[in-house]
Symmetry: C2
Subunit: 304 residues, 2 copies
Amino acid sequence: MSSSILVVGSVAFDSVETPFGKADEVLGGSATYFSTSASYFTDVKLVAVVGTDFPDVHIKGLKDRGIDVAGLKKVPGKTFRWKGRYEYDLNQAHTLETHLNVFSSFNPEIPDSYKESPFVFLANIDPELQMKVLDQVKGPRFVACDTMNFWIEGKPDALRKLLKRVDLFVINEGEAREFSGEASLVKAARKILENGPKTLIVKRGEYGALMFNGGTIFSAPAYPLEDIFDPTGAGDTFAGGLMGYLANSGDVSGDNLRKAIIFGSVMASFNVEAFSLERLNTLTLEEIRNRYSEFKQLTRFEDI
Amino acid sequence: MSSSILVVGSVAFDSVETPFGKADEVLGGSATYFSTSASYFTDVKLVAVVGTDFPDVHIKGLKDRGIDVAGLKKVPGKTFRWKGRYEYDLNQAHTLETHLNVFSSFNPEIPDSYKESPFVFLANIDPELQMKVLDQVKGPRFVACDTMNFWIEGKPDALRKLLKRVDLFVINEGEAREFSGEASLVKAARKILENGPKTLIVKRGEYGALMFNGGTIFSAPAYPLEDIFDPTGAGDTFAGGLMGYLANSGDVSGDNLRKAIIFGSVMASFNVEAFSLERLNTLTLEEIRNRYSEFKQLTRFEDI
């Protein structure tokens, strides 16, 4: 009964410095993290663009995880590169360099074999491109999207138009406040949901996530890690686990969204334990299930 | 089976400005918030000092809630006054003025009728005074204490000595990091617990609380409020609900500590809805029980 997911986003090389070490030109990008995470739960169809410098070994790596790369285009030029640093406050990335390269003219074309994907995830790209993706797919069952402050400030109208066509909107806490102009997250959520989505998930980094859905709120914790080695990709990994579990179960009810958020949090908690996809690529289903149980232990308390 | 609690701390007048309004010279102080909150669960015995300007109507108010004020001393001089402001980030108080007044020579004397209290809460005062309190009581069953950055920086050795005699240490996130010198809360908790307490609770304001106890971690959410009207006293109200529930049930097991943290969070969530003790003074047991159930709804998710 598992359904497939179409994801559109970036594939990139990241150079990252954290208090624990540094990594140069390692595989990254929103679509990469999302796909790898979701691939533990269901079939994933990837749409992204890379340059001619992108090595086949990385493409093979994605394929080995069962990810469909028919929509991964290789074009003349260099692959998107990002360089950033994290201080001890690992909730905040400091961007040192961004070279969009071939990503600057990314115009996602959805292969015919992808067009009936029932689940769609629009990672953080220009909201006009996110809409173009939706124009190409045929009646998806469940659409989720991410965004960032750059688009909230630069293309708020396009973003609002997009949100009318989206079931689930996933953003971080600061973005929720900025987009709504409300300091209170409860008020911010109400305002944002008026734009169309049935569900809003607010990511709060090491503090977990809040889901607003049908007048109810769900508060999910983050897994208390000894060390957050590298937070790069945590948000997309979270979304990958979440959408992966939803697509796998085919159930988008409020109760199942709660479970999906925990699976997303489980995947994100593994991802931040190492650079790049190092930890994500070596997971077992048993490790995922065990950490889900740890989330249960972390939050349980008895009735009165 | 309910046991009584001895609390030692401050009784003060607060002047507070928040984005929602202002209050002048209203009743406040750590012992006041703690006692009022705990009084919904069990008998409370208060030790504090006020000046001759402290009106009888406030003393009557405490008595009306069943709080024993035999240990509330009135001495020549003025009552402790604090003036502060909160910006939209309500996690952070900006102190404008502090006048310790009679509180500067506070030397807690425990009345004989208090000395066998099985539960003791040492609110945030000089750790040397906190130890003097423990010297006067007879074999308490369960001792909890709070502190602040001022004592962490000024009297770290006295604080460490105190912690050897304490079962539960309750501090906020920034203080836990400062006291331990660790950015990771998991590492910070381990270091702090090496000083003696069996249990550490880290308060995280609008993000809830973490408990570290016997190698396990419990993550409690905060109640997502539409508006946090005034956060003053939230930490002491939390501690009051927590200790009140523990003393009422007489059970200090890990599982019961989890329930106690939720009761503490319930009480704090009410307290921040209004200035001073306004909301805390008008609660019903039914409101407290209902909000506990809302915490259950807020956090529930199914097993795999």
